[in-house]
């Protein structure tokens, strides 16, 4: 790891510390994700092996943050002197993320809406990246503006924080015990469904889409129950007719009966095509929710110059 000069700790990701660092030989900025490699009697754990190599494969896409290399180091443990294997995942470094970008448009010296051209372009790239993951049979499960890194100058959006779900984390609790955001979580997950699929990511994509337009979160719940109420208040309390099987889900309770509101009112500046796409991403029944691949062909993107992607 001597090739890299650690510049600063930029965060604690779900599976370890993240540093901004510089490649000493090329000067390239990188994000170093440090993670313990728990070697047991079986050697390199199969989960770590499979997940890192899957990450290698997924990062081939332009819309997924690039994994530049994987470095392995043995750290001497101060207490017992035994070597502790550490794995560094070296990612390309991007200096901002969609959350910071939206925040800078909401507050700060010059608050203004994001341009519709940019929203369209970011959403398209997001769908591309999600379609890529899904086509390899991988769900992200934690898509949120913080996990979407931006190259502002080139107008590029990339999905980050893919992975290492099973090998390195206890899912719901984050490394720093910070509260894991529920705002982008699909209703089937909130209701305790165990057989969820690609629809969970598309729900998150819908929430992110609305947030780019509104410059504030669509469903800012602070507990799982509140999160559901936020959703139900806008989209109406789901019924068996709309979503077969919903009342049999593990965490289903009796909820107040809200009628669906007009979605367009939640995203006032969005045109009819955009509202249509959003409503397809926020379908209650996961089976009816639009897929990432189908979203790419939605009329909302007709005005986008797709040749650049």
């Amino acid at each position: 790891m001597d090739n890299y000069e650690k510049l600063e700790k930029v965060g604690e990701g779900t599976y370890g510390k993240v540093y901004k660092a510089k490649d000493r030989s090329t000067g390239q900025l990188v994000a170093l994700k440090k993670t313990k490699l728990e070697m047991d009697e079986e050697g390199v754990p199969p989960t770590a092996l499979r997940e890192v190599s899957l990450l290698q494969m997924l990062s081939q896409s332009l819309y997924v943050v690039r994994l530049l290399c994987v470095e392995h180091a043995d750290k001497r443990n101060n207490t017992d002197g035994k070597p502790k294997p550490v794995l560094y995942l070296v990612f390309e470094y991007l200096d901002t993320d969609l959350k910071k970008y939206i925040d800078s448009h909401r507050k700060g010296p010059n608050p203004r809406p994001l341009s519709h051209t940019l929203i369209r372009s970011f959403l398209y790239q997001l769908c591309k990246g999600v379609a890529h993951c899904h086509s390899h049979g991988v769900l992200h499960r934690d898509l949120k503006p913080q996990n979407l890194l931006l190259d502002k100058d080139r107008g590029i959006l990339k999905i980050a924080d893919l992975g290492l779900g099973r090998a390195f984390t206890v899912p719901m609790k984050s490394y720093t015990h910070e509260i894991v955001t529920l705002w982008y979580r699909a209703p089937e997950v909130l209701l305790g469904s165990t057989h969820y699929s690609t629809g969970v990511d598309m729900w998150s994509v819908g929430c992110i889409f609305a947030e780019m337009v509104r410059r504030q979160a669509l469903f800012p719940g602070d507990s799982e129950f509140q999160q559901l109420l936020h959703i139900f208040r806008l989209l109406g309390t789901p019924t068996e007719k709309q979503w077969p099987g919903v009342t049999s889900l593990r965490d289903w309770h009796v909820y107040p009966q809200w009628e669906p509101q007009n979605l367009a009112r939640a995203v006032p500046s969005l045109g009819p095509d955009g509202v249509d796409l959003l409503s397809k991403m926020l379908k209650y029944d996961p089976a009816e929710r639009i897929s990432a691949k189908a979203a790419l062909d939605h009329p909302y993107f007709d005005s986008l110059d797709k040749s650049q992607f």
Partner: protein
């Protein structure tokens, strides 16, 4: 993130969703021995020929004693080839071959979720390394291969190439894929195929299989594969020639085997005639009508082989359809 296909990695290795095809072609070079390998000095190459032969036989022994899926062996050999093409292996360390084999099998088994215990294979095969040594070797292999362990193999491309033929009959498609898989496994044991990309091996194996099974359509199949934007025709033809030679030699060897065991005196000419005869029968109608008893024996042997293989493939086919359900 949920890794949906982690529980069924074999199927996801072998069958890819159509959308991922351009990605596969774009990154297959990262999963083959580096190009410098085929141009390395002949001395190194000669050494690797014997090294590899020994290693493959160790891997096969392990496959049978641990009852692995053949794909585990395939992966292990792939890791080994890629490793050797990037790291100097010297003749002074004969134990290294075994250590590399053990660690490659261990990694391949982990990647494929196949139950595997070091003690089992060590006990069975007379390898004897302590766990720590093997684990260090695993890490060295991982570092050398940049942790790209989800190898892109020829199997990843089979469905794509077969889909170009627009065959409407699923039994024909399956037969073609089965025979091509068999050919891919055989070709993997031979050094001369190391220089070809996985996609080229797949395309050649499909064509070679179609030549055996549906000779009438062969040229149209060949044309559709050659038209594919990702395929380098020159490399395809070179690989296809080598592969057809290999297949022919195998057919010839199996006839010789049968002939020599049947004690019937035969002239070389007879043998030659019989071979071409049974070859063409086999390819034309896929059933043998030759009255020569030896030829029937050969054909039966082939049928059995084919049946075994199609059993295996139909099993994995079942898994594939399951994995597509999510």
């Amino acid at each position: 993130m949920e890794f949906d296909n982690i529980g069924k990695p074999l199927t996801s290795f072998q069958e890819h969703y159509p959308d991922t095809i351009p990605d596969l072609f774009a990154s297959e070079n990262d999963h083959m021995p580096s190009q410098s390998f085929s141009t390395s000095p002949s001395k190194t190459r000669d050494f690797y020929v014997s090294f590899r032969r020994e290693a493959i036989s160790l891997i096969f022994q392990a496959q049978f004693s641990c009852n692995f899926d053949p794909f585990v062996s395939y992966l292990a050999v792939n890791y080994m080839d890629r490793f050797v093409s990037k790291q100097e292996i010297t003749q002074e360390k004969p134990w290294l071959s075994k250590l590399l084999v053990v660690a490659s099998i261990s990694l391949a088994a982990k990647m494929s979720n196949s139950p595997f215990s070091l003690s089992h294979i060590q006990g069975e095969e007379g390898f004897n390394f302590d766990a720590q040594t093997v684990h260090k070797m695993e890490v060295l292999i991982l570092d050398t291969l940049s942790w790209r362990m989800r190898s892109i193999t020829p199997f990843s491309f089979l469905c794509f190439f077969v889909s170009l033929f627009e065959l409407n009959d699923p039994t024909l498609t399956q037969a073609l894929k089965d025979r091509a898989s068999e050919t891919i496994y055989s070709a993997h044991n031979e050094m001369k195929f190391l220089e070809f990309k996985p996609s080229i091996i797949a395309a050649s194996a499909i064509l070679s299989a179609s030549h055996e099974l549906f000779p009438l359509q062969f040229s149209s199949f060949k044309a559709s594969i050659s038209d594919c934007q990702y395929v380098d025709t020159e490399s395809l033809l070179k690989c296809l020639n080598l592969m057809q030679e290999m297949v022919m030699m195998q057919g010839y060897e199996s006839i010789l085997e049968t002939v020599s065991s049947s004690r019937t005196p035969m002239s070389v000419l007879d043998r030659h005639f019989m071979m071409t005869n049974s070859e063409s029968d086999n390819t034309c109608s896929n059933t043998t009508t030759t009255t020569t008893t030896d030829a029937i024996a050969v054909a039966e042997k082939r049928q059995i082989k084919r049946r075994k293989l199609s059993d295996f493939c139909s099993k994995s086919g079942f898994q594939i359809s399951q994995s597509n359900q999510w």
